[in-house]
């Protein structure tokens, strides 16, 4: 038994205020404090802040697209690249930031084995990946014929055979359109299979996944990413979900109004207002920070549009019956009016959103910024002074075309922990973490209380995983910790021949080798699906 003594304890399950009292741990989990025993170890945490470890809901650190992206960072000399750390480094860096659970946002089934190989390297953290299917021919066909039974079976089979945790949709139908030289479909436009529209895909997939009872609902990257004026389409996409449970990712990239000049202005207010109507939705922000970034996305339509504008080399790999792997290096500049508005819009979304347990901090690493910039974003959220100072350094469009300057709200520490631990854990269906109630995993971060917010969040005093300290004094100990989290929704085995014959008509690989090719994954933990029937 371990007791953490004397700290200010933040348990987001009990609100945002800190609680006094000791935290008891046994066998890697939090337990109810005991009066009758003397603990083996007491950790003196006076002057410290204790909170549940961070939970990353959307990052890109594994898989084939990252090996493509690393070509853009090749240069002579020592390699230390915060944008594209190796999977092993990424796990260590996340631990050093106080995160013990990390979800990579995308693998396509055809390249699932590359993702799995990388996930295996991420010792020290619990981790998983989401399976892309928004351009999967089999799924789209089933949805087009409104055969929901078959669609559910395909989703369950795809997620299982790819070793994934959730279903991810990226601008559904957009990849298919690009391959056929069409522009990405609008929400109510046919995507080229029967009368199926993007609205249908969103609505029916969300329904199917919720019926399967998967721990995380559909993880949605909507249409029109990065386009000025896209907030209208995004709000319509939110409404298209018809009050079902879902997660919307990196919504900063979808929250733009249209400035009379044709450029960006913030659409944050409209988006937050719309989100407020649907309490079953969660979001992550995809904050941009100034400096180098690397766009890594399955959204070929959006990236080819950006690439044509920037006229810079990109690496694009199109995948049969699925989406694509697309890479484009970027730099976000503070004096660029568009970038300044994007930066301010992300902060505005976070600051306007009343419930931090529904709107999470991400940078869509490495698309918006490296995840190592989280402490800087947290400082901007917690200090209006820091924000106003930062606003002085960026193009005036950030003041003129967003509402950021007028926002007085400052996040409390409790709200930060709700936003980075409790909320994402709950959205991911991981009830054993993100809080400090008895029974929760003893995944804990400890900070020394100080005025320097950024410094405090950048260097925890220590980090605990399953009741053992894995990071302290600059040393990370990852050995033997962390599992690959998977979901294996039930599907009808009798459908397999049907799936097999449909798929073999579309792909160039034998069915037995598709996705993980039947490889038995090691070191996994299945998070149960709780289907309540169809």
């Amino acid at each position: 038994m371990i007791v953490i003594h004397g700290a200010e304890v933040y348990n987001p399950a009990r609100g945002h205020a800190p609680q006094p009292g000791d935290l008891w741990i046994e066998d890697g989990r939090i337990i109810t404090p005991r009066q009758d025993v003397i603990p083996e170890q007491v950790i003196d945490a006076r002057g410290m802040i204790i909170a549940p470890a961070g939970v990353e809901i959307h990052t890109h650190v594994t898989g084939y697209p990252l090996s493509l992206a690393r070509r853009f960072t090749l240069s002579e000399g020592c390699r230390k690249n915060p944008l594209l750390p190796s999977p092993e480094e990424a796990a260590r860096l996340y631990l050093q930031l106080g995160y013990t659970t990390v979800f990579d946002a995308a693998t396509s089934p055809l390249y699932a084995f590359s993702s799995y190989s990388d996930l295996r390297q991420m010792e020290g953290v619990d981790r998983g990946t989401f399976v892309l299917a928004g351009d999967h021919h089999l799924l789209l066909q089933a949805l087009a014929s409104n055969d929901m039974d078959y669609a559910r079976n395909i989703i369950a089979w795809l997620v299982s055979c790819s070793g994934g945790y959730a279903l991810k949709l990226v601008n559904p139908g957009g990849g298919l359109a690009w391959k056929n030289h069409r522009k990405a479909p609008d929400l109510d436009e046919g995507i080229g299979i029967g009368t199926l529209t993007q609205r249908d895909v969103l609505k029916r997939c969300v329904q199917a996944v919720n019926q399967l009872g998967m721990p995380h609902p559909v993880h949605i990257h909507a249409g029109q990413l990065g386009q000025p004026g896209n907030a209208v389409n995004f709000c319509n996409s939110i409404r298209a979900l018809e009050s079902q449970r879902a997660h919307l990712c990196h919504i900063q990239f979808f929250s733009y109004g249209l400035d009379p000049s044709g450029g960006y202005r913030s659409g944050a207010e409209e988006v937050v207002r719309t989100l407020e109507e649907f309490p079953q939705l969660t979001c992550d922000v995809g904050q941009i920070m100034f400096g180098d970034a690397m766009t890594v996305t399955a959204d070929t339509s959006a990236l080819s549009r950006l690439q044509q504008g920037l006229k810079k080399p990109w690496i694009s790999n199109q995948v049969e019956a699925e989406g694509g792997n697309n890479i484009l290096p970027l730099k976000y500049a503070p004096k660029d009016p568009s970038n300044a508005v994007q930066w301010a819009t992300g902060l505005e979304l976070l600051l306007l959103s009343p419930d931090p347990a529904r709107m999470f901090l991400t940078t869509d690493h490495p698309n918006g910024a490296p995840f190592e910039t989280y402490p800087q974003v947290i400082e901007l959220l917690m200090s209006r002074e820091a924000r106003l100072e930062a606003l002085q350094q960026v193009h005036r469009a950030a003041r003129d075309r967003t509402g950021l300057a007028a926002i007085e709200r400052e996040y409390s520490l409790g709200e930060i922990f709700a936003m980075t631990s409790f909320g994402p854990a709950r959205s991911l269906g991981l009830n054993d973490r993100g809080h400090l109630e008895p029974g929760a995993l003893a995944d804990i971060r400890c900070y020394r209380k100080q005025a320097d917010i950024c410094g405090m969040f950048a260097s925890p005093e220590w980090v605990m995983k399953n009741g053992r300290i894995v990071y302290q004094n600059g040393r990370v100990d990852t050995q033997g910790f962390g599992e690959i989290l998977v979901a294996r929704p039930k599907w009808d085995q009798d459908q397999l021949p049907h799936i097999k014959s449909d798929l073999e008509n579309r792909i160039s690989i034998s069915f037995d080798l598709y996705a993980l090719g039947g490889t038995k994954m090691e070191n996994t933990r299945e998070v149960p699906c709780t289907s309540t029937g169809f």
């Binding site: 853009f72 090749l74 002579e76 020592c78 055809l110 190989s117 030289h181 080399p313």
Partner: protein, 297 residues
């Protein structure tokens, strides 16, 4: 010491070799620098558009082969790109590929505007290998620039005909775990990358290494480099005999024959190979792991 990873190995060899190199502060190179550093640097410079074989099968109606003999090295390609069968193939057989590509770029630039129409029935494939590009970075960059030019008005994918079974798999696994595709020095202090200096013949001739651990069959290694290897002690971990005369040979299992392993297809789709039968041979990664473990004790 230098460790040479050969292109017939499965990608599982890579993390084990890296850990070994880190422990011994060793150089890590591949037997196929073109598929690794040179092509990667060309992609960094000019980008590329590629597609998995199923897309090429279903969509491609024109093919440009860079080099006359490239199709002979890919006998099964016709199965995946029916356009090859249908005779919609044009060969670039110029002895001066750089000049040929520069001319093509001029032509393409002039006609890009005209080509913008009628996209639907025009999807092409540029097929290339390292021979025609003379293993030269500048020529490779020019080829990829031309591909980008073509893509202003039409849709052209590229397909690199890698010279060995898993050239690209080893390159991608190195990029994923080490951040660069070979030509590196690995130590506890970190990884240093130098595609000009950290090449095997340089390492040997500069006297920076006295031992070479060659993993796999170095079938792509040029004859001159094999001569260089005579100047140092070589240890070979190979599934089959080679024309090298190493000081020590440890036979290892072959992925897909007597052990499992992951290799990448022509389009870099990972394929998980299962063993056909069991033998006493161990996979190369197991040897690296035990060498690393022994030194740690």
């Amino acid at each position: 010491m230098a460790v040479v990873l050969c292109s017939d190995l499965p990608q599982e060899a890579v993390p084990a070799a890296l850990a070994f190199c880190q422990q011994h502060s060793a150089f890590l190179v591949t037997d196929d620098e073109f598929s690794g550093s040179i092509l990667s640097l060309a992609m960094k410079e000019a980008g590329t558009l590629s597609a998995s074989l199923g897309i090429l099968r279903d969509c491609i109606n024109r093919v440009i082969c860079c080099g006359g003999d490239i199709l002979q090295t890919l006998p099964r390609l016709e199965k995946f790109v029916p356009a090859v069968n249908a005779g919609h193939v044009r060969f670039l057989e110029d002895d001066n590929p750089l000049a040929a590509l520069q001319n093509l770029r001029l032509e393409t630039g002039a006609s890009a505007a005209n080509m913008a129409s009628n996209l639907d029935d025009q999807q092409g494939l540029v097929l290339f290998d390292k021979n025609w590009l003379q293993e030269d970075l500048h020529i490779a960059v020019e080829l990829l620039h031309w591909l980008a030019d073509l893509n202003r008005g039409q849709r052209w994918y590229s397909l690199y005909a890698a010279p060995a079974a898993n050239s690209l798999g080893i390159c991608n696994a190195l990029l994923s775990t080490a951040g660069c595709p070979g030509n590196m020095h690995v130590s506890l202090a970190g990884i240093e990358y130098d595609p000009r200096q950290f090449r095997l013949h340089q390492l040997i001739n500069n006297g920076w290494v006295d031992t070479c651990l060659i993993a796999g069959n170095p079938s792509l290694m040029p004859a001159a480099l094999k001569e260089d290897l005579k100047k140092v002690t070589t240890i070979l971990l190979s599934p089959e005999p080679t024309d090298l005369k190493p000081a020590l040979t440890l036979p290892v299992a072959r992925a897909g024959v007597d052990c499992a392993g992951t290799m990448q297809r022509l389009d870099q789709v990972p394929l998980r190979l299962q063993p056909l039968f069991t033998t006493s041979r161990v996979p190369v990664e197991a040897i690296f792991n035990s060498l690393t473990g022994r030194a740690a004790v």
